[in-house]
Symmetry: C3
Subunit: 441 residues, 3 copies
């Protein structure tokens, strides 16, 4: 076996290993989201978060992947659309590549490794929505929206940014998906929340928010640990090759941002709430991870610490902000994925450092130094353009699809079902048979 | 370091990495099985599923591995029987190999990597039994049976199929163990259930089954996610080498079958039970994974989707079928591992595609195209022969061993202990101290 | 790409992969420790075990790593102290290495991969303390101690043993950290326990210990499975290179010791407590893992089985021993990490086998055969010297730091808070909202 073949084999091992870690994040989301909701809705959330990856697999295979990575125009992919079945001679790369998915021709692994790695990212975007609309959405309605996000909404912006579309051409950078994955999921969640309205009893007559406590913080903590673990696939894996300098650096920036966000969120919670609230600590971690996702490969280790510190503050403020607006997000998905997805995307424009990127092999001619590195606004401008255009498109698309679902099949369960819990109403089964639970909590 | 040494190192990393994932499936089984049983028996199930891998390690090291992979005759291994201590110059392969475990000489990794990878598969077969006999079996009796399955029952059929025995010679193919692991575990479980009888109160006087609900569906969901994750070790790892085309393809077929089975099981449950039952969704996933285990390396991506769709339907029907026969299987182990282990094994005979296998490097002269690929029955016939002969041997062996245990030490706890729960009776400790639980549930 | 570059890439993949597994052990500790405590303190333990890795990351980055691995004298590192920012041309090795962290110049991976791998080990030492001081310590006081252990206590002994300090020079061997990580964590825990005193109600007037049951043995079991899984990163990863013979051998010895310890602990518990106690089975596993950590790369497979068997017996006896002394350790951290950390360290002196080590490439001129291998006491003497000197230093340092914290901010929560639970007192939130729980349990 020659060195070239060995490199393909090693890169494939790396891509699959990290893809498995990202797949595992589905467990993390399921545990965080069910743990932060009430026991009477646990089965429903678990069922949603479990089935959503199956739906992602089917929808992304049947259509989404082709739309995202098929050769096409600046807006969508047009070749090899269905069943990821276009011509492709991977693991050939560069000029040796012949096929219709040329936006992925830079990574030298077999086609199904590419597909699978991209699939687990699509699945993440879809699962983000679940927590935000929890405790009141109809099971069937959620499933239909999940098909739409995986088959259409996510792949289109994905094409713009990672599939050779117009934002890629403009020099927009999002290394592992602060925008592609997290803020897309966040905007879809926001649209859903606005059409669904808050849970019964969440906002009192005087406008104050009533805390609705999660039923199992051990599960929620478990979930965040799993997500932190999975993020070591998400970010370092997005190299799609075992480039030692890059993957070591990205593991470091990813972890440091998460750790610093935990500390700053804990501090903010201690100051604002008088006691360090575990749910804030946990969401702080996720905030740091989301924020470092776009810039992880372009910024220095020191910058990643600063990004994390900011993210941890931001997520705590965002939780209070959304509650002030009566936007009822049971698990804080908007504060984590939307607010920090946007911040992380902009952070590329603030902290990108071409010296660092060159050293670890992630530099590109199209990348400019960030505002805080050499005082130029170029990169920040492009990043802001990306944030705004993705927001506009995804909000329109998500409102349209949620709206159609609302008209055709309804979005929200009946009041009695919401009060009694969706577990019995939607699934005919309880999560904790035999335990004494106060279902009016 | 030369390329040949690097290949050995890379293959070893792959084999160990995937073996660790398969090891981790023990957690998955422990959580699924305890979650689907009642709180009063949770400690007992956890203890069984925890200790069973320790027993597997000891029993497979002391005897099982030699019996399975030692050079011998068509039925059992005879050389290097005890303590896996026969001569072996791994990682030498092919003609360069000298040693007594020549059935594994095709994979170029150090001996203990081979052993460890095989060990975690043995452990899986043993842990399957635990759920099926749960909530009524004596702890000690289960331990003794576990020794027997790991030291003798599993290694013998393993020798037939993977150890160079008679089924291997006849061209029987089971890539990652639908038969070797899952249906062997399933037949052992069936024998145990038949000798134990149903749990008190499961079948009413009029013959109808009374649902006995699991006490923690969050744990059950967690468990299935862990198993899905672990299966990316189970199937792609069974290459025992980092062959990029093969491992990427197998990751794809494995995941697609699981996803499709989730969707079809959800649909079947929705139709038959009026509401989508989470336990059916979860078992659907496992069914798809078990069914694709044998054919994952021999079938097209499209075929894997079909196999998954069938598996999801099959598992739901099997659950009702076994209940009709009053075969009380608390966690659905028979429907998952036995029914779909058999189906998956036959699926090789239905869908095997030599063009696909040749492309990814898993083809063999002895493999024929499946019935649905070129209309020939050859492969299906051999697969059926394997299913029947394994069933006959394992049922006889398992009945004999369970029978001896029943006579010598008894199989079932006392009625009062079963009603009060095995946690106090067998272990003197409760799973959820401080929680109000209705133990008659 | 040439073979040398490929080796760097492969080693980096291995180091990162195993580091991720060790990171994941934080989840294991969080679940074991919260599961073995009472529901009313679950949020507090989860918060401690979650935030402790964030603190470790910050403290080890800012100071700890430099103190441990910076070039310096026999006692501490002196160069490149702050922010791990000294000169370093990794992945260059041997004579090609130029930089200030020469104690790590033997491993050919990029600098941040080295740092991250070392960081997750530091995090483990810190998290061990959490369980031992649980259910009575102030949250803030624990955080301050965590900073001290990661920034100073752990790095100093780490420098002695792994950073080129005086114990390394004397031929002391601790492959993956029975002493460096586990007994250091254990001595810190012991000092904390002695200054804190037992939980209210733990020891009755007549001196007998009252059992205080854990609130969730499913979580505890989950945690130990995760730790067992993570240990496949801890021990095999400590090669910091993908050396096939070494990593396969170490995976085997690690697993076999764990399995044997499970079996011997189960037996001891069955004999002494009349019924096999799940918590003893679980702690048996951890004991075997801790004990094999130092010798895993230097002993035969057979010796690893013996080490495991002894560890399982030792942990059960240690639990009773510490209770006899009224040293109240809610989760058995001392019995696991201290007793078996010491035993594992001495086991190198008993079982080290230069023939085995030479075969797998872990031998060193400074290593002598163990007492049971060729009857010489040399290695055992050095190991004992290491145990005693680490004990002396860590106990003094830990008592000093715990003592200062006690004077300045207090160690223990108020009596009313301890009785009502630390979740409300320290965090203002319950772990299981909606569940009926008896908080006086």
């Amino acid at each position: 076996m020659d060195a070239a073949s060995l490199k393909i084999a090693l890169d494939t091992v790396w891509v699959l290993f990290t893809a498995f870690l990202v797949f595992f994040m589905n467990l993390g989301f399921a545990m965080v989201e069910s743990g932060l909701c009430r026991a009477k809705n646990a089965v429903n959330i678990l069922a949603k978060n479990f089935i959503v990856f199956a739906i992602s697999t089917a929808a992304y295979w049947i259509l989404g992947f082709g739309l995202m990575y098929g050769d096409g125009n600046a807006l969508i992919g047009l070749k090899g659309l269905l069943f990821a079945s276009g011509a492709d001679n991977s693991p050939a790369t560069g000029d040796a590549y012949t096929g219709v998915y040329s936006a992925l021709s830079w990574t030298g692994v077999p086609f199904w490794a590419k597909f699978f790695f991209q699939l687990v990212f699509c699945g993440t975007a879809a699962t983000i929505v679940s927590g935000a609309v929890a405790e009141r959405i109809k099971f069937g309605s959620f499933l239909v929206f999940s098909i739409a996000i995986c088959a259409v909404i996510y792949p289109v912006t994905g094409h713009w940014i990672w599939g050779g579309g117009w934002l890629a051409s403009h020099g927009f950078f999002d290394f592992a998906g602060s925008t592609v994955v997290h803020s897309v999921g966040g905007w879809c969640a926001l649209a859903g929340i606005l059409l669904l309205g808050p849970r019964i009893g969440k906002y009192k007559a005087d406008g104050k928010a009533k805390p609705i406590y999660g039923h199992n913080l051990a599960l929620a903590t478990l979930g965040v640990f799993v997500l932190w673990f999975g993020w070591f696939g998400f970010n370092p894996g997005s190299t799609m090759a075992a480039n030692p300098d890059a993957i070591a650096h990205i593991a470091m920036t990813t972890n440091l941002a998460a750790a610093m966000a935990v500390l700053s969120a804990t501090g903010m919670s201690w100051i604002l709430q008088k006691k360090p609230d575990l749910t804030m600590i946990l969401n702080g971690c996720l905030a740091g991870l989301v924020a470092i996702t776009a810039p992880c490969a372009f910024v220095s280790v020191g910058a990643s610490a600063v990004i994390g510190l900011i993210a941890g503050v931001l997520v705590v403020l965002a939780v209070f902000f959304f509650d002030k607006l009566k936007i009822d997000d049971p698990v804080g998905a908007l504060s984590v994925h939307l607010a920090n997805g946007v911040f992380g995307t902009l952070a590329v424009g603030l902290f990108a450092n071409k010296t660092v990127a060159a050293k670890i092999g992630t530099d590109s001619e199209a990348l400019s130094n960030g505002l805080f590195v050499d005082g130029t606004w170029t990169q920040l401008g492009v990043q802001a353009l990306g944030v705004v255009s993705v927001a506009a498109y995804v909000l329109v698309a998500a409102f349209a699809i949620w709206g159609i679902i609302k008209v055709v099949m309804g979005l929200r369960v009946k009041k009695e079902e919401e009060l009694a819990g969706l577990d019995i109403g939607e699934h005919g089964i309880e999560a904790y048979s035999g335990f004494q639970i106060f279902s009016n909590m």
